[in-house]
């Protein structure tokens, strides 16, 4: 086989067949994908499932702490997990650029296999297309996932009440800063490491207090600032966040400082924010801190009656509004 991808690899002919037999089936062909049926048939253990889809585009495709494959598995699985569902099945669709190095493709497929296995998730159906050079940037991945809903959870922003507490499962902003710092021409080494990782273990650990948990979200694009504002908007509450309580990795802080970026607006890919009744907050925190994914979990704020704002008590002792980010994160000089 050649070292890079050709258009014919996606053409449905012999090269396509070879690629699937050599690269896809050995990694994913054990379960429902065996024999390459047109659709997967699944035995659902319950009649309430969660279903989610996401597409992944990241530059560079490999970055400290992971690659587009880790993101593609965790991203979809985490969207299911924050809805209180255990991720079980996943589809995998790849759009590959002509000329893509097969070694890179193999590394990414290995990661997808290992990440899915570690999370007990089966890749049950998939697709692969090749587009001409320049029509995509290396590769794009789409995954959809199905998870089984844990009935103990009843999650909705509208359940949030004054007196509730805010928890975060670890340092924030690591993923976004790791990817930005890895971009060409930026000249960083020993920079931040992406937090891309599974959230479901944390959701499972919180199961005993499920009824006390009002809402959960993974702070991906837009970071903690965007998620908290989404939650608060339209509710008769304010979220009071204590800046000094938010866990932040020092390398992430250093890069954010250099590039002039507000960490609270930067994406995480393995963290969860939860709002829960005050009585259960400490229990959930203890449970999270007992998980490898949540060792640095922290209580970061409280809910008060209000008008849908997110207020940050700054480390200096002042107060300011925590607003949603405007858009693209750009390195700034001023």
């Amino acid at each position: 086989m050649s070292h890079s991808l050709q258009m014919a690899h996606g053409g449905g002919g012999r090269l396509s067949r070879e690629l699937i037999e050599a690269e896809i089936l050995p990694r994913f062909g054990q379960g429902p994908l065996q024999g390459l049926p047109d659709a997967a048939s699944l035995e659902l253990p319950s009649n309430r499932v969660a279903y989610s889809t996401d597409s992944f585009v990241v530059k560079p495709v490999e970055f400290p702490g992971g690659n587009i494959g880790t993101l593609a598995v965790h991203g979809t699985a985490n969207d299911l997990a924050v809805c209180g569902a255990e991720p079980r099945w996943m589809s995998l669709a790849l759009i590959l650029e002509e000329g893509l190095s097969l070694d890179l493709l193999r590394r990414i497929l290995d990661t997808i296999r290992d990440t899915a296995n570690a999370g007990n998730i089966q890749v049950v159906t998939g697709d692969l297309k090749v587009v001409g050079r320049g029509q995509c940037d290396a590769l794009y991945v789409n995954t959809s996932g199905i998870g089984v809903i844990q009935p103990a959870f009843a999650l909705a922003p509208s359940h949030v009440q004054p007196g509730d507490m805010l928890l975060v499962s670890g340092p924030v902003g690591d993923h976004g800063m790791a990817v930005l710092a890895a971009r060409e021409h930026l000249d960083f080494t020993h920079g931040p490491v992406s937090d891309t990782g599974p959230i479901y273990p944390l959701v499972r650990a919180a199961l005993p207090w499920a009824p006390a948990i009002r809402f959960m979200r993974d702070p991906t694009r837009g970071g903690v600032a965007a998620v908290l504002n989404e939650i608060a908007s339209g509710l008769p509450v304010d979220l009071q966040v204590d800046e000094s309580a938010i866990p932040i990795d020092r390398r992430t802080a250093a890069v954010a400082e250099l590039l002039g970026i507000d960490i609270l607006q930067v994406a995480c890919e393995g963290r969860v924010l939860a709002i829960c009744a005050a009585g259960a907050a400490q229990h959930v925190l203890d449970a999270w801190q007992g998980c490898p994914e949540g060792r640095q979990s922290a209580l970061i704020g409280t809910v008060t009656p209000g008008t849908g704002r997110v207020l940050l008590k700054t480390r200096t002792g002042g107060t300011r509004l925590l607003d949603i980010p405007a858009g693209e994160l750009l390195p700034r000089i001023c």
Partner: protein
């Protein structure tokens, strides 16, 4: 304007640029705006360039000044409020 951060110079590369450190993160720093920077110096980095040195002794004495101010304030408060 002008975001800039203090970095410690870890080493000088053969091409005359430096590797700077901030909390473990390494970043390439252009030194052409300063004379004779050496490893161990602190510099202020703006847009990839060291624009000035940071004098650690002045920084420390500033921090001490804050501490002294606090001590004397506490002492005053103590007198007024036995």
């Amino acid at each position: 304007m002008c975001l800039a951060v203090p970095m410690c110079v870890l080493r000088i590369e053969p091409d005359g640029t430096a590797v700077g450190d901030l909390d473990g993160v390494r970043h390439g720093v252009d030194l052409s705006l300063l004379e004779s920077v050496a490893a161990g110096d602190y510099v202020i980095v703006h847009a990839g360039y060291a624009i000035e040195r940071l004098d650690p002794a002045e920084a420390q004495s500033r921090i001490r000044l804050f501490q002294d101010l606090q001590t004397s304030r506490n002492a005053d408060a103590g007198e007024g409020n036995p």
